[in-house]
Symmetry: C2
Subunit: 497 residues, 2 copies
């Protein structure tokens, strides 16, 4: 295993810290996955790509990583901040007259499919909230027993004021407790809470609520925050190494996870918190209400008024990686098209670099070995430095530039340096960054080659070489391509089904 020093910007401290896993050589990582009540969109892609990179780089260095990413199929309320509102999945189910688990399954399948297309590795464990009711009830009972929660009319709330007597509430998000305790409006339907800042651990099911379980407090369903605490602790232990998610989850979701863990086990759950930043579209926040909300299938098909064309999954992946995960990204047709060109160049470089040969005698003046080796090292250094993918991409472009010099015989390289170059370039581009040529390039080529052949045939006809043009037509017919000469132009179609 490579023993390199990795630095992670820990959202909890606001500082870059050296990453030291609890158990040498092993990493436990938990990332908040999707709520499966709608189409996977660009926001899902950014978070998934961000932590896919962490997963991939740690594995690349030889760590054994257990990566847990959950599926929220219950308990995510629409009015997240105040814990009120209708369960998102149940609402959608009623609209579609489906069993809520059928809706969840549908969108879970779609999410998995889209993630696979983005070349995101499946997590080691993909637990569902509805599948961990026992574990959530167990944890709530511990919090109640420790006096940090109270039951009220069949629901259970975390008592933020009580919690704050012993622990600091707001340490991750930087929220000030006083503001939270006094700033929140007392909303209707919150009468059961001692205080508006308290959040639900368990919610009583209203009559007709279609997702509910038996609990010590009657029929109900878990609050949104408790699932991630229960599932991360179950599969990764307490504490565990890395917890990731989108920046929008810092408060209340991750703040609540920290509180739940202290309240139940008197222990901070996570050693390194990582948060990816958000995305905009042409400078605007994406939102369904603004009509600039683009699903991943729309990106891949181009079927959206704001899109000039369809974009390959690898292009979207590359655009995400062109920014550091802590920065915002603006999606625009221009940025996507640049990403398409840039990723295409790096992919072409694979063959160019694989085809290079080492020089038996190095020319001390033009030898590039040292420069190439230090640029290879730079790929690692940039990833070690809080997973700085844009800088790693820049180093790959530099390697490609140097390789082109070698290709044109304007420099020399030693055998060892070449072998490092080849392994590093391919390793970082395809294994670490996960940029692969997804198009079977031959699929795309057939129409282009056919176009050339049809053009040749047209020229022959214009020059009245009919025997020749007929010969081409017959040869094509023999392999199942039917050419039809029409007034304007000749067309062709495939015979086979």
């Amino acid at each position: 295993m490579e023993t390199r020093k990795i630095y992670i910007k820990n959202t909890l401290s606001g500082k870059k810290e050296e990453f030291k896993p609890l158990v040498e050589g092993k990493v436990g990582m938990y990332v908040c996955g999707p709520t499966v009540y709608g189409e996977p969109h660009l926001g899902h892609a950014r978070s998934a790509v961000t932590f896919d990179i962490v997963f991939r780089y740690l594995k690349f260095l030889g760590y054994k990583v257990r990566y847990v990413r959950n599926i929220t199929d219950v308990g995510h309320l629409e009015d997240e901040l105040n814990g009120q509102g209708e369960d998102k999945i149940a609402k959608k189910a009623r609209l579609e007259q489906l069993e809520p688990m059928e809706v969840a399954q549908h969108y879970t399948n779609l999410y998995r499919e889209m993630m696979a297309r983005l070349n995101i590795l499946p997590p080691s464990i993909e637990p569902t909230a509805s599948g961990h009711i026992v574990e959530q009830i167990d944890m709530i009972e511990k919090i109640l027993a420790n006096g940090f929660a109270y039951e009220s009319d069949g629901s259970v709330y975390l008592d933020v004021a009580k919690y704050a007597e012993k622990y600091q509430y707001g340490k991750l998000s930087g929220r000030v407790l006083e503001d939270l305790l006094h700033g929140s409006r007392a909303l209707e339907g919150q009468e059961q809470k001692k205080h508006p800042a308290d959040f639900a651990l368990w919610k009583k099911a209203e009559a007709g609520h279609i997702m509910q379980w038996r609990s010590p407090w009657g029929m109900g369903f878990p609050g949104w925050h408790i699932e991630c605490s229960a599932m991360s602790i179950k599969y990764l232990g307490l504490p565990f190494d890395i917890h990731g998610g989108g920046m929008d989850l810092k408060f209340p979701h991750h703040e609540a996870e920290i509180a739940q863990s202290h309240a139940a086990f008197d222990c901070a759950p996570v050693r390194y918190w990582m948060h990816n930043n958000m995305m905009t579209l042409d400078g605007q926040k994406m939102a369904k209400s603004k009509g600039n909300f683009i699903s991943l299938s729309q990106m891949f098909s181009g079927d959206h008024p704001l899109l000039e064309k369809s974009y390959n999954p690898v292009t979207i992946r590359f655009l995400v990686l062109q920014a550091h995960y802590g920065s915002t990204i603006d999606f625009s047709n221009k940025a996507l098209q640049s990403a398409e060109v840039a990723s295409g160049k790096l992919l072409k470089g694979l063959k160019l670099i694989d085809d290079l040969t080492a020089d038996e005698v190095v020319n001390t003046e033009t030898d590039l070995s040292a420069q190439i080796l230090s640029t290879c090292e730079r790929c690692y250094e940039k990833m070690d430095d809080d997973f700085n993918t844009p800088e790693t991409i820049a180093a790959l472009f530099e390697l490609l530039r140097l390789a082109q010099i070698l290709k044109h015989n304007k420099g020399t390289i030693s055998k060892e340096a070449l072998s490092t170059l080849q392994a590093t370039y391919r390793g970082f581009l395809t294994d670490v960054l996960g940029i692969i040529d997804e198009s079977s390039s031959q699929d795309e080529l057939l129409p282009e080659v056919m176009e050339i052949l049809m053009e040749v045939r047209k020229q022959a006809r214009e020059q009245k070489q009919f025997a020749f043009s007929d010969h081409i037509r017959d040869r094509l017919a023999a392999i199942g391509i039917q050419v039809k000469d029409e007034k304007e132009k000749a067309t062709y179609e495939f015979d086979r089904n």
Copy 2:
């Protein structure tokens, strides 16, 4: 919706019965899915294809089908008959030093991938046993409250003798209660049971058992049979329409499901029980110990000493469909290769039939319309008759034979009959049987088209039309195909990686 009479061989009565869903136009179906501790194999394929066909045909007729297929990720003991032995998944996990849920996730992902390759539609809901502990505990408590189970040293068993006082035990499998009560050996470690025929609803976790949950009876895990009862009832209600599975599951698993449902709710769970038969390989029962156990990935790659070549998923699917689900199938290279040829013929027929044109004037002597319409009707009749896929395939071959007569202008067909032919042939082959051409035929075409283009270019060079041949070379270079003129002949290679 087509209102046709469908007949299902109900394993419970041993007779073909007319299928009448509980709610008109809607069907609830539950099928026992895989235990995810190993590679998906041919047995999984047969069961999945069998019930995929039921799902597809009912949907084809316009039924709204909720199809639930579970994932057993806990509770399946190695010694199934006696409920002893080590939990299969936990054992594998210890061997591989993995979290058991990580093993389960790995094989679940593999199962889903293999099923997708076999063109098996994903079920509407795919619940996991570990995700329904609450529901299983609830049901066990009901059985206890009704007096049909007893607790013994932290485990709970169904009391078969007590159950048999009120209900018939063995009605599905035809087992005789007396034999069960007196025939079973009293095995070691079964001392907690009143009687060897009793089966576990909940098992106490031994020290160090890595999958366990809190329950009213202490830490433990559910018995294998209770999961299917709890999950089918949760998502489909009680009773529901169809329950499917392999014939080997009749006893004890499905018998136990019936008993659990009566014992908890005084109600038979299922109206139509369907069981698919088993498969042999070259006439031998498949088993890991016999070395003739072939996984699906081995079938697809050909990487097994008993396989002469690799077989496409569609070939395996077709071979399964060439037998009625109630018959055994023998897998052999010969049978697979015949299935490959036969499915290829039917697939080619799609284009042939789509390209037919109707006759304006029918020749009363040679008109095939009536014969074709009755053969189309036969496709439905055979599927209506307990999903008789081999007979449906025979009817499709007959349609293809008639279509070939039409193609050679040796018969006529009316416009209406042609349109029925086209819709029926495609509908049954691709939608109902799920036989699709998985090879992108265009992939194969590129080298053939390139050969023609290279030949054209060679001719041009022979005729000293160098500007023309250079133009072709440059056009190809522009799309990434490099032509090299060598002494013997010109060659080309692809630029892209």
